[in-house]
């Protein structure tokens, strides 16, 4: 048995000692609470703090210093409330470390794997309570599993990452605070994967005592499960102010399209290193803004000093204006990482219905020619104001497997391969493979003499992608490749991709991390629109060869699928990292297989000068890593 108390299995770290020490310090103390809650205790409307928080509360080490209570954070969210969700609803089994180096205990106090990584015993924090004071126990999860997941009349199927080799897991209750998963095969990354953002285990944890009333099974007044669904799906859960939560703040009012307020959860189960019950901040006052007004709203309100903590919605074009006005608006701009490996990235579809185009895509010189024909410095300066980095398609340098010495050296080679702007070289490569102008119309033709056009599809509404595509078209046209750009909505593109009718897609901001987030961006293994290589090739892998069409035998795509299979089966983190580097080597040797443009755009985070304990690094591009919740907003505080 392998016992993990401080870290995720994959990414053990030296900080274990520090957090264990902190836990001991806190245990020796009595707890203190916010003045308003102390008043409520005195008035008798709330039990004392010792009875409210769990037996072994989680101790958060502050980023800078222990804080003081009080204050309301003013911020802005779009109409779908995504910014609020990622602050107010991220309490998964485990939370990602602030430096993303593995996961740390959260609602789960500890967990143990068997040696084969097929059985996971997970211990909920003893005495942890929902915001209405009712304890969270193993029964809550068993309710979710038996009455929601396994019940076919509820439209919730097996959660992501639990189905292995097509088989669902077995879930058992061991005791009041303990559950056990038995997976159909090794599932070593389950804790990491289930700790992503608000839509994995943070979603599965539901208060059974509240949710039962919305299931026809328990309440004959319910004619179907739609009332249940609205409270289960993270699209709308946040609107239900009466639904108990595990988060630091409870939503207290919500006016759609206008405003959302939240105030502290008196039963929150985290304390600081001196035993103060968290959160420090009293609550949130969030303005809800239409998608069309949001970038104006965040910019102007920042400069006016009316926002305390904001990211995500800023236009890159506004960063310099935002910087200039830091003093006027009494805020500091922290540049967090967007974590995107590319914005956009070019996905040649190796399953495109035209065999001639496929032949070209499978020819490395053709892809290399396309890549070096691109003037990435120009794209960066024009479309990203010089703030991004010209790069080849390569995963984020923050991915764990790229953190080792070997990984870093490899990453440098990978990210810089075939990005030097060299149109002459591009022409030479095209000449070499017989892509020359045969009919004298000024455009290069296919080796068999028929007409060659590169048709690039993209979604509307993404300015950076559109700008870069315009420039790229000029560059490709200049080396003789006739390029056409086309915009279409998600549904149309999705249908056409499934049918093999998209030749090349320019995908907007994208983040992918080894095996942790969207592995299908580097190997065609999931039948999703964002897969590299083409959806039917990925479907073929996913269905075990039953559906879709296989990658060409011996091709880089086939090698990638094999390398992926090897990496997911690795149980030891070092083996896994080595397997991933081996897989990425295929991209380096035969690549680029998908083509990068610019990426690693920074994301401005506006932080009021009064707000403390906001870390200066973070990654906010993909929601998966859970920022800003991963930065622990519970320990943010306002200086006097």
């Amino acid at each position: 048995m392998r016992l993990m108390t401080g870290r995720g299995s994959a990414l053990a770290s030296a900080i274990v000692g520090i957090s264990l020490l902190a836990t001991t310090v806190a245990m020796a103390q009595t707890y203190s609470e916010a003045p308003a809650l102390a008043d409520a205790v005195k008035a008798g409307s709330l039990p004392p703090v010792e009875q409210r928080i769990s037996d072994n509360p989680l101790v958060l080490t502050p980023v800078e210093s222990v804080g003081t209570y009080g204050g309301t954070i003013r911020d802005i969210t779009k109409a779908n409330l995504d910014w609020s969700k990622i602050i107010l609803q991220v309490e998964p089994f485990a939370r990602w470390e602030r430096d993303l180096n593995g996961v740390r205990p959260n609602v789960a106090e500890s967990w143990e794997w068997n040696d084969a990584y097929t059985e996971l015993t997970l211990n909920f924090r003893k005495g942890i309570k929902w915001s209405d004071g009712v304890p969270l126990t193993a029964d809550d999860f068993m309710f979710f599993w038996n009455d929601v997941v396994l019940d076919d009349s509820v439209p919730v199927s097996f959660p992501a990452g639990t189905v292995i080799n097509g088989e669902p897991p077995k879930v058992e209750k061991i005791d009041e605070d303990t559950i056990k998963f038995t997976f159909a095969g090794p599932n070593p990354l389950f804790m990491e994967l289930s700790s992503r953002a608000y839509y994995n285990s943070a979603q599965w944890l539901i208060p059974s005592h509240y949710m039962k009333q919305f299931l026809p099974k328990y309440n004959p007044d319910m004619k179907d499960t739609s009332e249940f669904d609205k409270r289960y799906t993270m699209d709308t859960r946040i609107q239900y102010t009466d639904m108990p939560t595990l988060a630091g703040w409870m939503v207290t009012s919500f006016t759609p399209g206008q405003r959302l307020t939240a105030e502290r959860n008196p039963y929150y189960w985290k304390v600081d290193t001196e035993g103060h019950q968290l959160p420090y901040i009293d609550g949130f006052d969030t303005t809800v803004v239409t998608d069309d007004a949001v970038s104006q709203a965040v910019l102007l309100n920042s400069i006016a000093g009316k926002l305390d903590f904001q990211s995500r919605e800023f236009n890159l074009a506004d960063v310099s204006l935002l910087m200039e006005n830091q003093e006027k608006g009494n805020y500091t701009v922290k540049l967090w990482d967007r974590g995107d490996f590319a914005w956009p990235w070019m996905m040649p579809m190796y399953d495109y219905k035209d065999e001639g185009i496929r032949d070209l895509f499978y020819t490395p010189e053709f892809r290399r020619a396309l890549s070096v024909a691109m003037d990435r410095d120009k794209y960066n300066n024009v479309a990203a104001f010089g703030l991004a980095k010209p790069r080849q398609f390569a995963l984020s340098p923050l991915s764990p497997e790229l953190q080792t010495e070997e990984g870093k050296a490899f990453y440098d080679k990978w990210v810089n391969s075939y990005i030097e702007y060299d149109p002459e070289q591009a022409k030479a490569w095209l000449d070499q493979i017989g892509v020359v102008d045969k009919d004298g119309d000024g455009w290069r033709d296919r080796p068999d003499g028929s007409r060659l056009q590169m048709i690039v599809d993209m979604m509307p509404g993404d300015k950076q992608t559109a700008d870069i595509m315009d420039l790229m078209k000029e560059d490709w046209d200049a080396v003789g490749i006739e390029t056409l750009l086309n915009q279409a909505d998600w549904g149309t593109l999705s249908d056409r991709q499934k049918a093999g009718e998209v030749m090349m897609r320019a995908w907007g901001s994208a983040a992918g991390w080894g095996l942790l987030s969207a592995p299908t961006v580097w190997a065609p293994v999931e039948n999703a629109e964002w897969t590299m290589g083409g959806m039917s090739i990925a479907l073929n892998y996913q269905s075990g060869g039953k559906e879709g069409e296989p990658a060409r035998p011996g091709s880089a795509l086939e090698k990638l699928q094999q390398a992926y299979s090897k990496a997911v089966q690795a149980l030891d983190p070092n083996d896994r990292n080595a397997a991933l580097l081996e897989a990425y080597q295929i991209h380096l040797d035969e690549g680029p297989l998908t083509i990068g443009t610019v990426g690693e755009d920074p994301t401005p985070v506006v932080v009021s000068n009064r707000l403390r304990n906001v870390p200066s690094v973070g990654l906010i591009g993909s929601w998966d890593m859970g920022f800003p919740a991963t930065a622990d907003p519970e320990q943010f505080y306002f200086a006097e």
């Binding site: 839509y199 609107q239 759609p256 006052d285 102007l300 987030s517």
Partner: protein, 327 residues
């Protein structure tokens, strides 16, 4: 006259039915529906097993039935006052519309009053002072107003107001007043925000009204009866307002037919860019998200206001001008 109104009302019913049918089927045209958008969103969040729920979700939302059947369910529920539930925020469509109706009517009727109330006198002034400095200035202003879309004017005002006062006038209230009762403080706060959208929308509306009034006035002023009236020695005020202006009213009355629809559905883009809590902005997003019941209900609301508005303007025209016949 009553028979005429009755006949018009009867014709409205099949028209409405036609609009509902066409609107409903246009909303079915995209290859994807709300559920596939939802599943795609879930998939992007890593929840790839959501695809397994697709059929059950369609069943629950009634999207699995053939379009014809769904149309009739929708149609009869609609008549019974059950306008369905929004897929996106899962609240009844009627709640969403009623919640947004007051703000919508407040802004649009203010915009209407300002654009007509100011546009007409300025148009008359412009016509009676043709080619004088005042007229040239007003005409220039009107061309700017007609040339620029109101959302652009709104953005310009927004930035100008921000630079001048440091106020960010997005929305219709400061955050602290959003759920507050309507006290004097809230009303004042409302006006401190509303002036921006009202002026922006009224500016373009006013420009149009001004130009139309000016043209008609000029046309009328050139007619022989005006010469007669003046020769008779009538005061200029009476000539202009009692005689010429009345005759110049026709096109304005015809335009009035669109005013009711404007109250519900004018300035949609301005609503979206200024974050106004109006029906228009929700109509835009509902259409994009294929939230069909919400979008459908608003479509019908607009259709009804257009038809009623046209009826009112026809009746007014007939009442104003006996030469207009009832058939």
């Amino acid at each position: 006259m009553l028979a005429y109104i009755g006949k018009r009302l009867v014709i409205m019913l099949p028209t409405l039915l036609l609009i509902m049918a066409v609107g409903f089927f246009i909303m079915q045209l995209p290859a994807q529906d709300y559920v596939s958008q939802y599943v795609a969103r879930q998939g992007q969040m890593g929840n790839t097993t959501a695809m397994l729920q697709e059929e059950l979700l369609r069943q629950q939302l009634g999207l699995d039935k053939p379009p014809i059947e769904r149309f009739f369910y929708w149609f009869f529920d609609f008549l019974r006052g059950d306008w369905g539930t929004s897929f996106v925020d899962s609240r009844p469509v009627t709640t969403i519309i009623l919640e947004r109706l007051p703000a919508t009517l407040a802004i649009s009727s203010l915009a209407f009053l300002v654009s007509w109330g100011v546009g007409i006198p300025l148009g008359v002034y412009s016509a009676t002072h043709q080619y004088k400095t005042g007229d040239v200035a007003l005409t220039t202003l009107a061309f700017i107003g007609i040339g620029l879309p109101d959302f652009l004017v709104a953005m310009f005002f927004l930035v100008a107001a921000f630079l001048a006062s440091g106020q960010v006038l997005l929305g219709l209230n400061s955050p602290e007043f959003v759920n507050a009762p309507w006290t004097l403080a809230r009303i004042l706060d409302f006006f401190s925000y509303a002036w921006l959208s009202v002026t922006a929308v009224a500016f373009t509306g006013m420009a149009l009204i001004m130009r139309v009034t000016r043209n008609n006035m000029l046309e009328e002023l050139g007619k022989p009866y005006v010469l007669t009236l003046r020769a008779k020695g009538l005061p200029e005020r009476v000539v202009i307002w009692k005689h010429v202006f009345r005759n110049a009213l026709h096109p304005l009355v015809t335009m009035f037919g669109q005013v009711l629809a404007f109250l519900i559905n004018g300035f949609a883009i301005t609503s979206a860019v200024l974050n106004l809590p109006t029906i228009q902005s929700v109509y835009l997003s509902a259409t994009f998200q294929q939230d069909i019941f919400l979008a459908g209900a608003i479509l019908i609301l607009i259709a009804v206001t257009v038809m009623v508005g046209n009826l009112i303007s026809d009746v007014m025209l007939a009442w104003l001008d006996p030469r207009v016949r009832y058939d």
